[in-house]
């Protein structure tokens, strides 16, 4: 495989960049695979990569309805963090942080992981205590966390509202300094390129229309490009989970909702950290291009439309200005929506199913992007070994039956309230 490096970049410049290899091929589906991963998003691509890399399973196909990286991996706000209170989430995400830190080198693709830190603002002592509970839990799990007072926050983000004319004054915040952002598309493309190199077939424009299940065992899938036999099938389709579950006669503790995000026009660097508002639901960071990347609440009703409505964005931006009044003078450039697989306790599911050889990876809510490497790694393990890894043991499907819920927000089953 052609190595990406400054040396090769210069070399290719002199041949007018005519000699770059394909990042990934575009093969016809084969008749049979050891593992078929449905969904060419970040998690699916990562799963295929780790199946090949960690488990030496390379007779693998990724089946993608559209184009790879076109789902939530390409439609998020690029935040990477492990600032969770519950052990299951914290340990899983921190494992992922390690993978993030070396991802550019592992994939030989610059995913621009940038540990610029995330600050969750608090606007009351009560909220400081809630964050303390979370931050202490993080620290006891070996995750970095710092509790900032008002002055410390002001030093990092002086442009936030520290004036008298503020509805919810900033008391302080919880910071995870090692959290940050990465270039979302690069993650998908980087995994795809390496997976392809190790023999994984990336099959785009191929829609799954059914499953071949007999005697409680999966035998293959039916697609718009013909039937494909498979010993094992992994579902990695985020917002389309409910649709495929129906084809399997399963109902899952998942609802499909729309989350919008938007960016401002690009401006010169003004905000270094990722910041979340504590008196509402709003988060912001500034991209390398200079755009302020902003997001917040769900649109609030089940939706498969990758288009949202303005009141939600108005609400989100209202909180944005409440937190950082200077945003008022910027302009909203682009908005988009992502289809979220909202689970009933806000945490994901990576598990086997009642069908032999069928594996489930879903329920990421709006936290899927940061989980990409850990999700791929553990899902690959679960598929390869036919048993869950201790990192994803808590993400079982039957926790809803047993009551071992992992509810970071304590909001329960009203998935549309965020």
């Amino acid at each position: 495989m052609q190595k990406y490096s400054i040396f090769n970049l210069v070399k290719n410049a002199f041949s007018n960049h005519q000699n770059w290899d394909l990042a990934w091929k575009d093969p016809e589906p084969k008749e049979e695979y050891d593992v078929v991963i449905i969904g060419g998003g970040g998690h699916g691509l990562a799963t295929a990569y780790y199946l090949a890399k960690e488990h030496n399973i390379t007779k693998v196909a990724i089946i993608e309805k559209g184009w790879i990286g076109g789902g939530n991996v390409g439609r998020n706000t690029t935040i990477i963090r492990s600032n969770y209170m519950h052990d299951e989430n914290g340990l899983f995400s921190e494992f992922g942080m390690d993978l993030w830190r070396k991802m550019s080198q592992d994939l030989n693709y610059n995913v621009m992981f940038s540990p610029r830190g995330i600050i969750n603002l608090a606007h009351s002592d009560a909220q400081m205590n809630v964050y303390a509970r979370r931050g202490n839990s993080m620290r006891l799990n070996g995750i970095d966390a710092v509790l900032l007072n008002r002055e410390q926050v002001k030093e990092i983000i002086p442009m936030a509202d520290f004036s008298e004319n503020v509805r919810f004054p900033i008391f302080g915040g919880l910071m995870q300094p090692s959290a940050g952002t990465a270039r979302h598309d690069a993650v998908a493309w980087g995994y795809a390129r390496q997976a392809d190199d190790m023999g994984v077939d990336i099959i785009q424009n191929c829609e799954v229309i059914g499953f071949d299940v007999s005697a409680g065992k999966i035998n293959g899938i039916r697609t718009s490009r013909g039937n494909i036999k498979a010993k094992k099938v992994g579902l990695c389709v985020a917002g389309s989970t409910n649709i495929l579950a129906e084809k399997l006669n399963m109902t899952l503790p998942i609802e499909t909702h729309l989350l919008q995000a938007c960016v401002s026009e690009p401006v010169k660097p003004v905000l270094d950290s990722v910041v979340t508002f504590g008196a509402g639901h709003f988060y912001i960071s500034q991209s390398d291009k200079g755009e302020m990347v902003m997001g917040g609440d769900l649109d609030g009703y089940n939706s498969y439309a990758q288009r949202g409505n303005l009141p939600t964005l108005q609400h989100v931006l209202t909180e944005g200005i409440a937190m950082m009044p200077f945003l008022s003078k910027l302009k909203m450039l682009r908005t988009w929506g992502g289809i979220m697989d909202m689970s009933m306790d806000g945490s994901p599911i990576i598990d086997k199913t009642h069908i032999d050889g069928l594996y489930l990876n879903c329920g990421w809510c709006y936290g899927g992007f940061k989980a990409t490497p850990a999700s791929g790694w553990t899902f690959a393990h679960t598929i390869a070994q036919d048993r869950v890894h201790e990192l994803n043991a808590g993400y079982s499907l039957n926790r809803f039956n047993t009551g071992h819920l992992i509810d970071e927000k304590g909001l329960g089953t009203k998935t549309w309230i965020s």
Binding site: S104, N110, G135, N136, R167, Q314, T318, S328, K329
Partner: protein, 998 residues
């Protein structure tokens, strides 16, 4: 200073009003009615900024919203705003603007070194490098890249401007005031329909302002003025200029941003800067026109290269020549129209037409005027760095693959026309699946998804006559459906010149041995070679191409680049355009002020503030307030130099020893009436309610269906079929909806009504051993003895003439009462309580003391009922009925909920009896264990016990009850604290509950 490029008495600017302005520190003059762009061009200024990536010099390309690179930093009224399009910004007296993305100046920009490195910086180069050494990305490379990117500078000052919102309903909303917009608006208005006509530019008329046409025996411009004038007199019509409809949302909701003050030096008093209109329209007519397409050639980003329609607009609207030696490069007749205008105004252009033998009325006219025309000729490359000085031109073969001999001709601007792209953005936003129209090589709207119709050039119709006919007809037809009027208006006759077919040609091949950059996306510096690389590397989906190269992702959102990009991909991939990509647009059409989107809900008003009727009293008495949701509650009443700890301790102590009074108005209150009220409560709460007598209160806990505690509170039976429920402050609205849900949907057979009474009642809790005497003083005629009003009893009374409800309930664990009066009398009640309580040393207490009192009593509150706990966790099992069913009961059977070592609430005391345990600490067995250190539980609430004068905390602890007596560590690594603690009962004070019953 004379304006070298301004024609005398041509155009629509107001020559009587001269305006001075500054650009990059230099003073210039323009006229009222100019844009910053036209005023700069009038002064011969073409260099405006530097491009995003290569920092190449950039000038003006368009004359409006499609402008890709004339972007400036604006200074107005001591404020600054980044990324203003000079082509949209109207000139005002004293305007100041500066170039962006260049340092130290636009003339000499260090970043332009990138232009020499450009062969090393192809699309996606950053994905291939900057990876070594590992730590360098964040520390070295990224900061450098970030600094280089980003266009203008955001001011971090608070925005002083005001933005308003307006909600409107109308029959027809018409986007765009060109020929189709005006005709359809006129026809609809004549039928009495409520019409809103929106134009994003300051002037109405669209293409009629610049096109040489004749309607109803007057010039197009005069006809437009007449129509607009008449529309403005009609009461059923709203005509708005400077108003951009930028979003087409669900159910025919459109949003429009009106620039009210941007064209003024300063916003007028009581005026908004912008006004955002939410418009719900029965029918939407999209007459947003079309945008000229560029033709791609070498160095086509050099200042002086611009759209031919823009050159015409600068001439006809502003009286400005964009050059005195223009070269027109066209693949259709539009270029000739521009050439004719130049010629008419004494400037001799040269026309290069890629077509071999085009024939039409327009071309005939050009020929008859003696314009120099070269057929089968193209511009190969512009020459000149900061301004076009000449052009390399050549003949081109019929198959457009072979260039003839390169010649260089002198020129000072190159006006390009690559035919027209309909503005289908709004139609696409509405859900319309657009289709590709071969004849015009562009997408047009397909089948309507909502009530929308696209007319005129936006629909790919470029004949004025046809546009007027269909637009008058459509406006009439749609309005007739709504108003039932059928007032026919006669369609005026039209004189326009017929044009010939355009050439399917948008990209000039590179001459042998040359490696000119041929730009598609000017702002993001995406060139033909970038698209080629993306495709070569397998980024073949158009979405991959866009993301890999950033084509169309700049602030102009690809208005002049998207289609050329698609065309190029289709040629390289040998596919037809619609097979390459289907264009779907999302709002906003053009970048929209965030301030305008947010409106008035800023600063203190970003969320409502709720205050109790006693708020003024609290303020007067030095209350320090705390936010409780949107409520403001006194946290403590500061005396002298007291801090929170000292003040709240004093208040809590006073409750334990004397008597205190606390404002509990914020608690949710729900009035429940009906014969089945008891049955409802019995199903909602976990405990039994059927036998509660009249005049008695009971504490209850309600669950969500998943078994998690939703809320707690007391409910009192006021009379036979009338109950008064209290909820926590935070859950008040949710609980009401919850009850309504079950009553309306699940158990409609229950005859019960519920209504919120939170605002109707003001509440005061009087607590402490002396509370009974205070109550007696308030109600001298009532028997409030322990027998007359026992614990959990209720009675009504007369508080100095005011009807009051008296509940003997206690959150503090002391003998306590809660008095409610109608809100209007809240302050009266409060003052009376303070007055009669004075001799018993009554003190008001705030939420902090309230918290202390409940914690040492082991009463649970929000920090324990955190959406994750079940009744057992909170030692509330006594309240969970085994006999009856209730909401959420079935969930309590889950194995994790019934586990033997399930978490439970306990008390925690530091071994040294001195060190307060920070809330949010975790309990561990071994403070030195390696990480991750297993956590057994967490500290949910902490206080300084006023009873025992030492710290006390509540914790939710695994295997809680069995842990009493154990020694653990409370750890708060965030605060660097490790505190050895002992686990005790959560009922730290008065465990038998004798005080409340005393």
């Amino acid at each position: 200073m004379s304006q070298d490029f301004r024609l005398e008495s041509v155009g629509l600017v107001n020559r009587d009003k001269k305006l001075s302005f500054k650009f990059n520190g230099k003073k210039y003059f323009g006229y009222e009615g100019d844009t910053l762009a036209s005023a700069l061009l009038a002064n011969g200024v073409h260099l405006v900024g530097r491009s995003f990536k290569y920092h190449r010099p950039r000038g003006f390309f368009g004359a409006g919203v499609d402008e890709p690179y004339a972007i400036v930093q604006l200074y107005r009224n001591n404020e600054t705003e980044p990324n203003i399009k000079a082509t949209e910004q109207e000139l005002f007296e004293g305007l100041e603007a500066k170039s962006v993305n260049c340092w130290p100046s636009v003339n000499f920009d260090i970043g332009a070194i990138n232009n020499f490195l450009k062969i090393f910086l192809p699309a996606g180069f950053y994905y291939k490098t900057f990876m070594w050494p590992k730590s360098f990305w964040y520390r070295i490379y990224e900061p450098f890249i970030r600094k280089a990117a980003g266009l203008g500078v955001a001011s971090t000052k608070h925005d002083k401007e005001r933005y308003e919102h307006k909600y409107e309903y109308c029959d027809l909303l018409i986007a765009g005031s060109g020929p189709s917009g005006l005709s359809s608006a006129y026809a609809a208005a004549k039928n009495g329909a409520k019409v809103i006509l929106a134009e994003d530019k300051p002037r109405f008329g669209g293409s009629l302002l610049t096109d040489d046409v004749n309607i109803g025996n007057q010039s197009g411009k005069d006809w437009a003025e007449g129509i607009v004038a008449e529309l403005k007199t009609m009461p059923n019509v709203v005509v708005k200029n400077r108003s951009q409809i930028f979003g087409y949302y669900d159910h025919n909701m459109l949003v429009m941003s009106e620039k009210v003050s941007d064209h003024l030096p300063k916003t007028k008093k009581y005026h908004p800067n912008k006004r955002l209109w939410y418009i719900r329209a029965k029918e939407v007519l999209i007459s947003s026109g079309s945008i000229e397409r560029p033709i791609v050639f070498g160095n086509n980003d050099t200042p002086g290269v611009m759209l031919s329609s823009a050159a015409k607009e600068y001439l006809k609207v502003y009286g400005v020549l964009v050059g005195k030696n223009p070269l027109i490069f066209t693949n259709n007749d539009s270029g000739y129209e521009t050439a004719i205008e130049f010629q008419k105004h004494g400037v001799q252009p040269t026309v290069l037409d890629s077509r071999k033998n085009p024939e039409s009325e327009i071309i005939d006219e050009a020929k008859s005027l003696g314009i120099n025309i070269k057929n089968s000729y193209v511009v190969v490359a512009a020459q000149g760095y900061k301004k076009v000085k000449s052009a390399d031109v050549a003949s081109i073969s019929d198959d457009k693959k072979q260039l003839g001999k390169i010649e260089n001709i002198k020129c000072d601007c190159i006006c390009v026309s690559g035919f027209w792209t309909p503005s289908i953005h709004l139609a696409s936003q509405s859900g319309n699946k657009t289709k590709f129209k071969e004849e015009i090589d562009a997408f047009v709207p397909g089948i309507s998804k909502q009530q929308e119709t696209t007319l005129g050039a936006a629909n790919g119709v470029f004949s004025l006559e046809e546009t007027l006919q269909t637009s008058f007809a459509k406006g009439g037809e749609l309005s007739k459906k709504i108003t039932d009027n059928d007032n026919k208006v006669s369609i005026p006759n039209v004189v326009e010149k017929k044009s010939s077919k355009h050439d399917k040609f948008w990209c000039v091949p590179l001459p042998a041995g040359k490696n000119y950059k041929r730009f598609l996306d000017f702002q993001n510096d995406v060139a033909v070679s970038d698209i080629e690389i993306a495709l070569r590397e397998g980024y073949r989906s158009i979405e991959h191409v866009k993301r890999y190269t950033t084509l169309g992702m700049a602030t102009d959102q690809g208005k002049t680049s998207n289609l050329n990009g698609l065309q190029l991909v289709s040629e390289i991939e040998n596919k037809v355009v619609p097979a390459v990509g289907h264009t779907t647009f999302r709002p906003p059409y053009t970048p929209i002020s965030i301030g305008a989107i947010v409106g008035r809900e800023v600063g203190k008003h970003s969320k409502p503030t709720r205050k109790s009727p006693m708020h003024a009293w609290h303020e007067k008495n030095n209350a320090v307030f705390v936010d409780a949701g949107v409520w403001l509650r006194p946290r403590y009443y500061k005396r002298g130099n007291e801090n929170l700890f000292e003040g709240s301790k004093r208040e809590a102590k006073n409750v334990r020893t004397n008597v205190g009074v606390c404002d509990v108005t914020t608690l949710g209150k729900i009035d429940i009436k009906g014969p089945d009220a008891a049955e409802l409560l019995n199903r909602v709460y976990t405990n039994a309610w059927l036998k509660l007598p009249v005049g008695k209160a009971r504490y209850g806990v309600m669950l969500r269906e998943d078994g998690i505690v939703m809320d707690d509170g007391t409910t009192t039976r006021i009379s036979e079929n009338h109950y008064h429920m209290t909820t926590t402050t935070a859950q008040a609205a949710n609980v009401l909806s919850h009850l309504e849900y079950y009553l309306q949907l699940v158990w409609p057979e229950l005859n019960v009504n519920v209504v919120s009474a939170t605002e109707q009642w003001a509440g005061a809790a009087i607590a402490g051993p002396k509370s009974r005497v205070v109550l007696q003083k308030l109600f001298p005629n009532l028997d409030v003895s322990n027998e007359g009003l026992p614990f959990m009893g209720y009675m009504e009374g007369d508080l100095f003439g005011v009807k009051a409800r008296i509940f003997r309930i206690s959150f503090s664990g002391e003998l306590a009462y809660e008095v409610n009066v109608e809100s209007d009398y809240g302050n009266f009640m409060w003052e009376k309580i303070m007055e009669v309580g004075e001799e018993y040393e009554i003190q008001p207490y705030g939420t902090e003391a309230l918290s202390t009192l409940r914690i040492e009593m082991g009463h649970v509150a929000g920090s324990e009922l955190d959406g994750r706990t079940i009744p057992y966790d909170n030692s509330l099992e006594g309240l969970v009925s085994k006999k009856k069913d209730f909401i959420g009961k079935r969930s309590l059977q889950r194995s994790a909920f019934t586990a033997k070592d399930r978490q439970k609430i306990v008390g925690v005391v530091p071994l040294d009896k001195k060190t307060s345990i920070p809330e949010g600490s975790h309990l561990v067995k071994d403070d030195k264990a390696p990480l991750p250190n297993p956590k057994l539980g967490h500290i949910s609430a902490s206080c300084w016990s006023v009873e025992y004068d030492n710290p006390f905390s509540l914790a939710i602890l695994k295997d809680g009850k069995n842990m009493i007596g154990e020694k653990l560590f409370a750890m708060s690594p965030l605060k660097n604290k490790v505190i050895p603690v002992e686990i005790v009962s959560s009922h730290y004070v008065d465990p038998k509950g004798e005080r409340v019953r005393s």
